[in-house]
Amino acid sequence: MATDYDIRLEITYSYEAPAGSSRTLLRMLPLSNAVQQLISGRVSTDPDPDFRRDGADFFGNATSEIAHDRPLTEIAFRFAGRVRRSGGMPGLDLSTDLGRLGEEIAAIRGIGPQVPHHFLGASERIRHEPRIAAFAGALVAPDMSALAATRAIAHELHERFEFDPEATEVTTPPIAAFEARRGVCQDISHVTIAALRAVGIPAGYVSGFLRTRPPPGQPRLEGADAMHAWVRAWCGAETGWIEIDPTNDLLVGTDHVAVAIGRDYADVAPVRGSLRSEGTHTTSHKVDVIPCAGRSG
């Protein structure tokens, strides 16, 4: 079972006063891994950069380093391409009991990008938060499987949060969103990660796209989708990494296309930049995720 998607992403910055020379790091190219494959497509900028160097970061995400030497009033970063997403049926829960997860983690000798060790401690955007830890601790028990615990935490946070794009900003700390009980996918994912780490489950952040289905009888609005974020959790040596979408309270399936993975948003931000500008700027995002006709199923 596989689905092909035509995906377009455009992030535009407009400056009140022309911004001087800038350097930007992009993570906009979808991942290729066991369940998804980039068939075609590339990342581009408008205007063309004066310098560009493509590479990959520690976690294997594709990066493009971009420099513009002249002042700009507007700059657009784009990805357009096709991704094939495949997915298996969810199997039996063979994940490790929470009480034994620590031993299995400790037994892994390695510091490569896939090992769970990176995803337990504090990261740039996610600190240890006692209140989130207490919240998570009350939901789990040592004899629960790691997967069951992950689902329970994601479910409770889904119930707790009201989706509200006005309530938070891209820099809102997880604890503030947790207390406000409001936010967007980034906030819910950050809080879920904090909660999972607090009970000993290694957890990371995934940025990507979610296929959205228009309400019945209505046309799909072009560019109306947004980038999405969800969570990956390490559920034991046997199960490895699973992905869960706390915003929608479901395990990730073929509707999700991943772009980058990391410890939190700071590791995966699609645009990390340094634009020196005197005035204010505005940002706009446009996303289209369109299943290709005839390929689904």
Binding site: D50, D57, R109, G110, G121, R272, S274
Partner: protein
């Protein structure tokens, strides 16, 4: 030997009478049998022969040197940060050369080991895979920087400059207490300690066979120059800036070694190279001695909130466009918990044990080790595993001998059990003591020595001497300066005479004049604004003096001229009700702020003069009565301002930075004079305004002599705007600007006149041919606009 060469033994005995090292510790001065170690004998003999007054005079010479050099450190506390005098302990620590040699060999072994560990942590990761290092200690270490993983340093090495904190344990053997790999500080301070201490003992030092420090710095400087690759590029020291606690050292060592001192904002990652923005355009930099913590170095790939970084720095390193000393990510080695594993790693990698052991350390993330720590709480210091602080730098979350330092916590057993992975236990060793002079008594105090190592093409070289820290009390936790500790020089003493070295090698062959260095745009900008702020402050002070003199004359404010002056001052944000207004204090602060950012390019005397000005002005705030007293205080400030101007004019070398300082002053003086003239020569201005203008223009005598009959608008404007011989006139400032601009342009491509030069010439010509009566207030203000456009053009051309 003649007996009179020695101080009488009874004097020495008197000196040492009160010197009683605590039992169970080693002492630097005394052998276990209580006799003075031979290496100390000459110093003890000298000290014993001194009267308290003679000794005080010696110490004062050392302190005077530190003061004259301007050595300070910045101390951060909850209430902000302050600059502190350098706390020198005047008695050096004496170490025999043979012993130093053994210590050096051990530290070189350790430096090689650390290089190996770092290359592995950012490379294959074998140490973790082989079980020699727990994965989570690496993965959770905030100084293990993932963007550096896979990087191959251009020089072939990650580490080039290291420091080790060493102490002596009770049995007399050396012990490493801390690895300083991030961006070790103290080598410049060690130099300053040496300079000061040789002034305390000028009679002893030259013949005491003390090994010199200069050779170490020369070797490291040459090594850095050798790392440049293409010869046209430069070596620079990268500093976080003046707000860091060791900025003095950065500026000092940059000057000492002749390297540029840069901040990240001076640098730009360009296609295929790193450049520094200078007044002559971008210049390549290929070697950076980093004094900034790694994670702040690049907001694109490292800490995104860093305002200090250079975007693209990591990528430039990855592309081998520069060599960084040390490579980013080197702080990973400093974590206390590493010490629990380094002994075994050393044996596994080299087949040899560590020649100098490090302090015994147990990581409490391991069951057996945790149990051992719990069973031996009485001789443990328990602290955070990933902390880079020294064992003795305790905080509230440190347990010493089974008790917390901070407020009550849960039982230590529970703490170890629930948080073990974040904790280490370290053996609570007692450091050796060394003599310090407290009052007139020689007393034993705990000591810790920081030893510096630099990589050269021939391998590691060790600075023969070091930076000792001396405890305030016998408690070793009082070692740090912020806890009142002091610092001392370390003398490595040979049996045979040593070579007196200096930084420069003997000049053989023809004399070569070194070309002047480049001037970074930021430094030029700070010097330019230093000039402007000082001049602006002077204008305000002159106006305030005139105002308070009038106030004193009339005794009350019901007078049009007083109102006029008040409104004028208010236009500059000055509150005339404050005799020494806050707005003026802020100008002095701003000037000092600019000078503080260019300490490497600004004379110590100039800095002292400026500090004195700001300090004096601040001391007057709220303490001065309006009228006569305020006027006299303003005169005092003007005298100090003249002193500063004199230093700048008579003592500063005419390098490009001086030209920017001078242009800043000239431009501001023209601007202020035009503003004052427009307000005071206006036909609607109240009577007496012209006299104020002449006073503010500091031209009372000249005016009286030149125009003995009567003063009028035209004579005032002629003298203060159009007279090319009056150093206060506007035209004179344009002359200065023209001359300095021409000198700056000299080295640049000839041909077309720059926008800046054209603007200066236009105003200059305009004023040269103008008749006084044509200079109406409107015309004066128009000229003021043109002056401001010159500043904009100057900024665009050189400073941005």
């Amino acid at each position: 030997m003649n007996a009179t060469d020695h101080a009488p033994d009874d004097l020495a005995a008197a000196l040492l009478q009160g010197y009683q090292p605590p039992s169970g510790v080693a002492d630097e001065l005394l052998q276990p049998d209580g006799r003075v170690r031979p290496v100390w004998q000459p110093l003890i003999d000298l000290l014993a022969g001194q009267t308290p007054d003679e000794l005080a005079q010696r110490f004062a010479r050392g302190d005077q040197h530190l003061h004259d050099t301007g050595v300070y450190y910045r101390q951060h506390s909850s209430g902000g940060s302050t600059l502190r005098d350098w706390p020198l302990s005047h008695i050096p620590v004496m170490i025999a050369a043979e012993e130093w040699q053994r210590l050096s060999e051990g530290l070189i072994q350790r430096a090689d080991l650390l290089e190996h560990v770092m290359a592995d942590l950012y490379g294959p990761g074998d140490l973790v895979a082989d079980g020699l290092l727990p994965a989570e200690l690496v993965a959770r270490n905030p100084e293990w920087l993932r963007p550096i993983v896979g990087m191959r340093p251009r020089s072939g090495h990650f580490l080039h400059f290291l420091a080790f904190e060493v102490g002596r344990s009770p049995d007399g053997s050396w012990l490493v207490l801390g690895d300083r790999t991030q961006a070790p500080s103290g080598s410049g301070f060690a130099l300053e300690n040496r300079m000061a201490t040789t002034r305390v003992f000028p009679d002893l030092f030259p013949n005491a066979n003390v090994r010199r420090l200069a050779g170490f710095f020369r070797a490291f400087r040459d090594a850095m120059n050798g790392l440049r690759g293409e010869s046209a590029s430069r070596v620079a020291i990268l500093t976080p800036g003046q707000h860091t606690d060791t900025y003095f050292e950065h500026a000092y060592i940059a000057r000492y070694l002749g390297f540029l001192l840069l901040e990240c904002e001076d640098l730009k990652a360009e296609q295929g190279r790193l450049t520094v923005r200078t007044i002559d355009g971008p210049q390549p930099v290929s070697v950076l001695w980093r004094r900034l913590d790694s994670r702040f170095a690049d907001p694109l790939e490292l800490d995104e909130s860093s305002a200090l970084g250079t975007p693209g720095m990591v990528a430039a390193l990855r592309a081998q466009e520069l060599t960084m000393l040390n490579c980013l990510g080197s702080g990973v080695l400093e974590a206390r918990a590493m010490m629990a594993f380094l002994p075994r790693i050393c044996e596994r990698l080299t087949g040899q044990p560590l020649k100098i052991p490090n302090i015994a350390t147990w990581w409490c993330g391991q069951t057996a080790e945790r149990g051992f720590v719990y069973d031996n709480l009485q001789r443990m210091m328990i602290g955070r595993a990933l902390s880079t602080d020294l064992p003795f730098e305790v905080d509230a979350l440190t347990a010493l001998g089974g008790d917390f330092r901070g407020s009550a916590q849960k039982p230590i057993g529970d703490w170890l059990e629930t948080d073990g992975a974040n904790l280490v236990g370290q053996e609570a060793v007692t450091l050796s003591t060394t003599p310090a002079m407290i009052g007139t008594d020689l007393v034993p105090r705990p000591a810790l020595i920081r030893v510096f190592l630099a990589r050269t093409p021939e391998g590691w070289t060790v600075m023969p001497g070091g930076y000792a820290r001396i405890g305030r009390t016998e408690d070793p936790t009082a070692l740090s300066m912020k806890n009142g500790g002091s610092v001392a020089d370390v003398w490595v003493v040979s049996d045979a005479p040593v070579i007196a070295e200096s930084l420069s090698l003997r000049q053989d062959g023809p004399f070569v004049r070194r070309l002047p260095g480049v001037l970074p745009s930021r430094a030029a900008d700070n010097l330019y604004w230093l000039g402007r702020y000082v001049e602006r402050a002077e204008a305000r002070v002159r106006e305030l003096r005139a105002y308070h003199l009038r106030l004193e004359e009339v005794g009350h404010r019901e007078m049009p001229l007083i109102d006029h002056l008040e409104r004028y001052l208010e236009g500059f944000g000055v509150d005339p009700d404050e005799p020494v207004p806050m707005a003026v204090l802020e100008l002095f602060d701003a000037a000092q702020g600019c000078a503080g950012k260019v300490r490497d390019r600004f004379s110590t005397d100039g800095w002292h003069a400026l500090t004195d000005l700001a300090f004096t002005a601040r001391g007057m705030f709220n303490r001065v009565r309006p009228g006569d007293e305020a006027a006299r205080r303003m005169t005092e400030l003007l005298r100090k301002l003249a002193g500063f101007a004199g230093l700048v004019h008579d003592n500063m070398f005419r390098f490009a930075g001086w030209r920017f300082l001078t242009m800043g002053r000239a431009l501001e003086r023209a601007d202020q004079m035009l503003s004052a003239l427009a307000a005071l020569t206006d036909p609607a201005a109240p009577p007496g305004s012209l006299d104020v203008a002449i006073e503010v223009g500091d031209s009372v005598m000249t005016h009286r002599r030149r125009y003995p009959m009567a003063s009028g608008c035209n004579t005032v404007i002629d003298l203060l705007a159009l007279d090319a011989d009056n150093p206060r006139s506007v035209l004179f400032q344009l002359d200065v600007l023209r001359e300095q601009e021409a000198m700056l342009t000299r080295t640049r491509e000839g041909g077309a006149m720059s926008d800046l030069a054209r603007r200066i010439l236009l105003v200059h010509t305009d004023l040269s041919v103008a008749a006084p009566d044509a200079m109406t207030p409107a015309r004066l203000l128009e000229t003021r606009g043109a002056i401001r456009d010159i500043s904009v053009a100057l900024t665009a051309r050189y400073l941005s």
